[in-house]
């Protein structure tokens, strides 16, 4: 009889129950917040109330970190990711645990719970925490948490170095949003938008680098198409999407609207990760404003275009930013990657053609439509056009988010823009492109910032977060940190990554690398289901190379 052809029984059943999807996760999140008990207690009930099998609730609730984490009355999320690790030389968790008197993953006295999360987007001012939804950031973090100092959360330093900002056009140059959309929609300029974006050579900025216009075209122009703005900026070290969603959400929405126009889509979803509560608030407000201003809704600006946008909150999972996993999450399921084909552009959200574009990608679209694809294509390099936001971590002298032309040498970004490392700090290795990216050695920074060039040096562009590790941490500690991230965020959908990420952590934690480690890296790299598992081996290999002799035996 065969199975459900690229789907699964739970999805099909949920489909018959009216596509509750995101409502299930919302209801689960609500229950998680209200209940001191684990998901075993409330998740089955929540699902049943929505007419779904109990198992649908429990499966999802135990998958997402936010839902599974024990909750006290006061819930603190502490960042365990790269920049915060680098800022406190790996001590930040212990410091916060001591300050609050509760271990990570537990509920302590005074009903305080502590959850380790991987990146809150305060990498420029690490370490960071969210006390409830209130950020506490910086070297005085523990005092802030203990109540000795008021919470501090410096704004993201943002700077354009190109002279003609694209993504930062609003934030640094005061360019108004929603200037392109009214005319585009009124004149039915779908083809023109598609053509300009095709001419621009714009590629996905979320890491995969897929040509945007090709993805739009792949959806085939079906009116059922759904466009998803992926605001699940999971890469530790990158906070560009947070900047855009908090400081210029309207530009992202305008880009999303233009993408919908080009795809013929009437529905869009903005997914904002739960680690960015401020971005969620701002994005929701921007959507409300856009409806009020007639940019969204029925018969937009007198045209025949109807466009509805919904904002959905994530629930704590790195892999859930991968497009198939993201769609699974929007359907209320476990945020696991699935094998492709079918590709989401053919069979995505509830089987509708689905285009998933990263927030930064969408933020570039209004500029491209206004100025023309060719104007964009002239920028960057010939093969990798345009500009890119790069994020520099706290260890730099001048951390912040910079818009640069693609092809700018990394060494220029590090030394000229970032001003090198803070006084007294010596670079051990530079992580480029997040946990699935790679590491460059201090003497190997003369690499143009393009996907192709970085790949040649064992790194990757990824989301273009640059996290500097100084000499206070050893290569071995960084290696262990990378494996910790992999083990904590592996979705578990495929065995190489599910077992390999834990085993890799065990091996780096205890022993010396053996033949087993070599085989493990090979299986993970070649056989994993999605890019997460496939990229981890490359990342740890490049790390081993970046540290040279120190990690020589780990270069396998």
């Amino acid at each position: 009889m065969g199975g459900f052809n690229g789907s699964n029984g739970f999805r099909v059943l949920a489909g018959r129950r009216g596509h509750l999807g995101a409502r299930l996760l919302e209801a689960l999140a609500g229950a998680a917040e209200r209940s001191p008990d684990g998901p075993q207690v409330w998740a089955p009930r929540v699902a049943r109330r929505l007419g779904l099998p109990a198992a649908a609730g429990l499966g999802s609730a135990t998958f997402y970190a936010d839902l599974a984490a024990p909750r006290g009355r006061r819930h603190v999320r502490v960042c365990a990711a790269a920049a915060c690790f680098a800022a406190r030389a790996g001590r930040q968790l212990t410091e916060v645990e001591e300050a609050l008197g509760v271990a990570v993953g537990g509920v302590g006295r005074n009903d305080v719970s502590l959850q380790a999360v991987r990146c809150l987007g305060f990498c420029y001012a690490s370490p960071g925490c969210l006390d409830g939804d209130t950020p506490c950031v910086g070297p005085t973090l523990t005092e802030q948490l203990a109540g000795g100092l008021p919470p501090v959360a410096p704004a993201i330093p943002a700077r354009d170095v190109t002279g003609d900002p694209v993504a930062l056009a609003g934030i640094v140059a005061g360019e108004e949003p929603w200037t392109v959309w009214p005319e585009a929609v009124a004149t039915g300029a779908a083809q023109r938008v598609l053509a300009e974006v095709a001419a621009s050579g714009l590629r996905g900025r979320g890491g995969a680098g897929f040509p945007v216009s090709a993805k739009w075209a792949a959806a085939g122009g079906s009116p059922d198409t759904v466009v998803v703005a992926n605001g699940d900026e999971g890469d530790p070290g990158s906070y560009a999407d947070r900047l855009l969603m908090e400081a210029d959400p309207a530009r992202v929405l305008e880009g999303l609207a233009l993408a919908c126009l080009a795809c013929g889509a009437r529905r869009a979803v903005v997914l904002v990760r739960s680690e960015y509560p401020q971005a969620l608030t701002r994005m929701r407000a921007a959507v409300g404003q856009a409806y009020a201003d007639g940019h969204l809704g029925g018969s937009v600006h007198g045209s025949e275009v109807n466009l509805d946008v919904e904002v959905v909150e994530g629930a704590g999972s790195y892999v859930a930013g991968e497009e198939t996993a993201l769609i699974a999450g929007l359907e209320g399921g476990r945020g696991c990657a699935r094998s492709r084909p079918p590709y989401p552009t053919r069979q995505g959200l509830w089987d509708a053609p689905t285009v998933v574009n990263n927030v930064e990608t969408l933020a570039a679209v209004p500029w491209i439509v206004r100025r023309g694809g060719n104007a964009y294509a002239c920028r960057g390099t010939r093969t990798e056009t345009g500009t890119k936001l790069v994020c520099l971590s706290e260890r730099f002298a001048r951390p912040g988010c910079y818009e640069v032309e693609l092809g700018t040498p990394v060494i220029h970004i590090v030394t000229e823009l970032g001003g090198g490392l803070q006084e007294g700090a010596e670079l051990g290795a530079l992580q480029v492109g997040g946990p699935l990216g790679g590491f460059l050695p201090p003497d190997g920074l003369d690499v143009p910032l393009t996907e192709a060039d970085l790949a040649r040096h064992g790194a990757a562009l990824g989301h273009a977060g640059l996290v500097a590790f100084d000499r206070r941490v050893t290569g071995r500690e960084v290696l262990r940190h990378v494996w910790e991230f992999a083990a904590a965020e592996s979705c578990g959908a495929c065995s190489p990554c599910r077992v390999g990420s834990r085993r890799g952590l065990e091996i780096t934690g205890s022993g010396t690398p053996s033949e087993e480690y070599t085989r493990l890296l090979r299986v993970m790299g070649q056989a994993s289901l999605c890019a997460f598992g496939r990229r981890v081996p490359a990342a740890v290999r490049s790390l081993a190379r970046a540290y040279g002799d120190e990690l020589g035996e780990w270069d396998r």
């Binding site: 009889m1 065969g2 199975g3 459900f4 052809n5 690229g6 789907s7 699964n8 029984g9 739970f10 099909v12 059943l13 018959r16 998901p39 075993q40 207690v41 998740a43 089955p44 699902a47 099998p53 109990a54 198992a55 649908a56 609730g57 429990l58 499966g59 135990t62 998958f63 599974a68 999972s317 476990r334 699935r338 094998s339 084909p341 083990a487 904590a488 965020e489 592996s490 979705c491 578990g492 959908a493 495929c494 065995s495 190489p496 599910r498 077992v499 390999g500 990420s501 834990r502 085993r503 087993e516 085989r519 493990l520 090979r522 299986v523 070649q526 056989a527 994993s528 289901l529």
Partner: protein, 892 residues
């Protein structure tokens, strides 16, 4: 499309995967997360091949024309081995127990040469052994999700999920607590598909299969689905009963009953010696003593009242051969047509109604066809509980896109998945079906061409249906007119609709009318005998209730449904049997009891039926048994009926018998003994022969195979069927007049089997039920089956199924409960005009206010003392589905 696998060209259908291609080329790959019945997910990543320059998991990679696939290079072999080794590295060493004879993972490791020390997991995740039939060892779980997909996609219960993430991912019951308290319905599918032994059943630890000494293929002896099973035995004990992956109906699936409920075989109260009533007490005696007593009694009865003073109730649980022999014994050795079987109490209206409409006494199409339907109309049946494997297959069809209309007062089983759920008042079926027919006719949702050429009775029906407009029907049935319209349109507009129904249609005062009115819909739609639509198909309750009737264990019909009043049919049988066949139809079961009470029936022989528990109005049934001078009972246990018998003969159970059953879609399938009967217990086949011998009669056909061969000579419908053929071919459906041609799974493609060759519409007016509630008995009681038990429960109550459902519940709506002052779990006394039962209240929103529901699996509760003496006006099938009752809190 053509795919090159290591230089071998294979040709594949669209939609095939690279795994299909590799297998077709004769290759083998480890596939730990794959099961052909389930969606492929590519989770274990061990079926690695190279195609298009990349390493891919073959199971989830679509084959494309011209693809070149590398499988056997050293690099790929190594990679696959490493992928398996990585999985094993996290498991404890016991994961490899059994080696080549172990579970799937152990076997693969053995083949790949992975040593047990590859498994270096520390374990510590714990076990869940709370459930009687499914045990979980979390340390062996590899998160492949096969069990989860099995439960969702094949069983349709959605009881399981993967929980946690990353390395902590592990299967768990979705309700968050123990397995025993979960939604699991114990189908065993998860255990069956688990590749590692994380899920096992007690008694069959993974890696232990080699130690089983016997394997017997047989057919399940519980409900009428006809699941094909493989019975593993060791030292005269059953180790496990596994579903047969090639089973034509179950296709590798089973349910809590067939799969697990075999413990009754060795229950301490199993009858192993004949019992004879002496000084009022049933006393163990030898077979010869018991048989002499019966023979003497029979002779006395015939001497005093003629052959018709003797009657037999044959058994729907017995084999065809046994039923054949029993009816032959009655007709030949005694000389009476007084033989009936329990289809009288369930689907006699189907036999009558379907024969009148179409010509043959059975469903019109096979389940395989029904599964191809785009719209299912499920009426008065809860297959999810009563016929779980069919329920699962129907749900699967619905999840694959078929529309579903359920007509049932309760929101149970498939009703949760219905596009339209009609909830007619019990007893209002005919009005409901007429209402649907009215809409179909009014809106032109009928097959005019079919009606013109192949149907009789349209004018009469059209005239009748004038009075069944949606509003009128809404008033009669309580079904909102809008729902009626929607249902009629869904069914009427479907390309290939199918009707499946159960006892909710038949067990009524006008049950036969119900069947006719329901059959009208299929006829109007041209959905029977045409290939566009799959007719109308009853779900039979017991394993061989179809066969018992097929074999002529009926008072008016000979084997193969020839009428006893037809001289030619009698002559044909007499010719084979070498004895005359009585020409007057015999008594039906209720008439037998009436005759016993009246003193005219002097011997009643009851084979495998607990009539004191399962027949309606049991107070009067018991009275009949007490009045009858000789009651002989063949039983597994000392049932209520056996307690009232004069002679009790210990019987063999289905796992101890040789013969055949006919399932609900008319398939003959082999039944083979996995064990010997215990003690002096005998098969009914042997017992009938022994009794005939005691009377000095030789019935011939010494073996079951000979009996079926003889039946084939008596009944043209079965002329092509024999044990030898079934052993060769598996299942064969009847009609099968020719040993060299297949049986007819779908009927009436050329013509209907009625005398004029036409399908007959019936103009049956709605008539009210026999039982109506009043101020004194304000509620309507409906009885039926629950998932873990079967019929009187004499088998299932003697197994661990009792741990799954151990309390006899009365389901009622919370509003009724509040009115009666009842809370969840309270004891409640149910009174009807006939009797009294004590049950436990269970509040449920699945019920309609004013209606209550219970099963009759626990005879000691007395449910069938409540049910009435009303019966179908055509066939005497009891009106089980409507009894007016009142509730009194407590045990009074």
């Amino acid at each position: 499309m053509r795919v090159d696998v290591d230089g071998v060209a294979v040709h594949l259908e669209d939609g095939a995967s690279l795994l299909d291609a590799v297998r077709l080329a004769g290759g083998e790959l480890p596939t730990l997360c794959h099961d052909d019945r389930l969606t492929s997910v590519g989770s274990c990543r061990t079926c690695l091949v190279r195609s298009g320059g990349s390493v891919v998991a073959a199971c989830v990679t679509p084959a494309v024309d011209g693809a070149v696939v590398e499988v056997t290079t050293g690099e790929l072999r190594g990679l696959r081995r490493d992928a398996v080794e990585l999985i094993v590295s996290a498991l404890p060493p016991r994961a490899l127990d059994g080696g080549a004879d172990g579970g799937e993972l152990a076997r693969i490791c053995h083949e790949l040469g992975l040593a047990p020390d590859s498994a270096q997991g520390q374990g510590g995740r714990g076990r869940d052994d709370t459930h009687p039939y499914v045990h979980l060892d979390r340390d062996l779980c590899i998160a492949c999700g096969r069990c989860v997909r099995m439960c969702a996609e094949v069983q349709g219960t959605f009881a399981l999920t993967l929980t946690g993430r990353g390395a902590d991912t592990v299967v768990a019951p979705g309700t968050g607590g123990s397995w025993a308290d979960s939604d699991c319905v114990s189908c065993g599918g998860c255990v069956d598909t688990c590749p590692t032994g994380a899920l096992t059943e007690p008694g069959l630890p993974v890696g232990d299969r080699a130690r089983t000494s016997g394997r017997t293929h047989t057919t399940c002896g519980y409900c009428g689905v006809g699941c094909s099973l493989e019975v593993l035995t060791r030292d005269g004990e059953i180790v496990a009963v596994l579903p047969d992956h090639d089973g034509p109906v179950n296709r590798g699936h089973a349910c809590v009953k067939g799969r697990f409920a075999h413990g009754f075989l060795h229950a301490s109260e199993r009858l192993i010696r004949p019992l004879l009533r002496r000084d009022g007490l049933l006393t163990p005696v030898s077979w010869s003593e018991a048989l002499d007593h019966v023979a003497r009694g029979l002779r006395e009865a015939v001497a005093a009242g003629g052959p018709d003073a003797v009657a037999a109730i044959s058994s729907a649980r017995a084999t065809n051969e046994e039923n054949y022999l029993i009816q032959k014994f009655m007709r030949v050795a005694v000389g009476t047509n007084n033989v009936d079987n329990c289809s009288r109490l369930c689907h006699a209206p189907s036999a009558a109604g379907l024969t009148a409409a179409f010509g043959l006494s059975g469903g019109t199409d096979s389940l395989d066809d029904v599964e191809g339907a785009d719209c299912l109309l499920l009426v008065g049946a809860n297959p999810v509980e009563a016929h779980p494997v069919v329920g699962a297959r129907l749900l699967r069809r619905v999840l694959h896109g078929a529309r579903l209309i359920v007509a049932d007062p309760r929101t149970v089983g498939l009703a949760h998945h219905a596009d339209v759920h009609l909830r007619p008042l019990p007893g209002s079926n005919v009005a409901l079906f007429n209402g649907l027919a009215h809409v179909m006719l009014a809106e032109g949702l009928v097959d005019d061409d079919f009606l013109r050429h192949r149907v009789a009775g349209l004018p009469e029906l059209t005239a009748l249906l004038d009075g069944y407009g949606p509003d009128q029907v809404a008033a009669l049935t309580g079904v909102p007119a809008g729902d009626l319209l929607e249902a009629a349109r869904l069914y009427g507009r479907a390309e290939r609709p199918a009707i499946v129904y159960g006892l909710g249609v038949t067990e009524h005062l006008h049950g036969t009318d119900g069947v006719r009115a329901l059959a009208n819909l299929a006829i109007l739609r041209g959905a029977v005998g045409t290939g566009h639509g799959f007719g109308i198909n009853p779900l039979r309750g017991q394993n061989n209730v179809q066969g018992a009737s097929d074999m002529g264990a009926l008072p008016d019909l000979l084997p193969g449904y020839a009428k006893v009043t037809d001289p030619a049919a009698r002559a044909r049988a007499a010719d084979v049997w070498g004895a005359p066949v009585p020409d007057r139809p015999g008594m039906r079961i209720p008439e037998m009891f009436a005759a016993a009470r009246a003193g005219t029936l002097r011997t009643l022989w009851i084979v495998g039926e607990d009539v004191c528990a399962t027949d309606p109005d049991t107070v009067r049934v018991t009275e009949a048994l007490e009045t009858c001078p000789l009651v002989v009972c063949q039983e597994l246990f000392l049932s209520e009926t056996a307690r009232h018998a004069d002679v009790v003969l210990p019987a063999a159970a289905w796992l101890e018998k040789d013969g055949t059953f006919v399932n609900f879609d008319r398939r003959f399938q082999r039944v083979r003994p996995a064990l010997d009967p215990p003690g002096d217990a005998r098969t009914d086949f042997a017992a009938v022969h022994a009794l005939a011998s005691a009377l000095g009669v030789d019935l011939g056909c010494r073996t079951p195979a000979e009996a079926l061969a003889e039946c084939a000579r008596v009944a043209p419908l079965f002329a092509g069927i024999s044990h030898e053929r079934l052993d060769r071919e598996g299942a064969v459906p009847w009609p099968c007049p020719d040993p060299f041609r297949p049986g007819e799974a779908s009927l009436y493609r050329e013509r209907f089997s009625t005398s004029d060759g036409l399908a007959h519409l019936a103009a049956c007016p709605y008539l009210p039920p026999g039982e109506t509630p009043d101020d004194h008995y304000p509620l309507v009681l409906v009885t039926g089956r629950r998932w873990a038990h079967y019929n009187s429960g004499n088998m299932t109550r003697r197994t661990a199924n009792l741990q799954l459902e151990g309390v006899d519940l009365l389901d009622l709506h919370p509003a009724d409960a509040a009115r009666c002052g009842l809370g969840e779990g309270d004891p409640v006394t149910v009174r009807s005009r006939y009797g009294r039962a004590v049950l436990t209240a269970h509040l449920s929103d699945d019920m309609v206010p004013g209606q209550v529901f219970c099963a009759f699996h626990f005879p000691s509760s007395g449910v069938n003392t409540l049910t009435s003496r009303h019966a179908d006006t055509v066939t005497s099938c009891p009106e089980y589905k409507v009894t007016a009752v009142r509730l009194i809190p407590g045990c009074v």
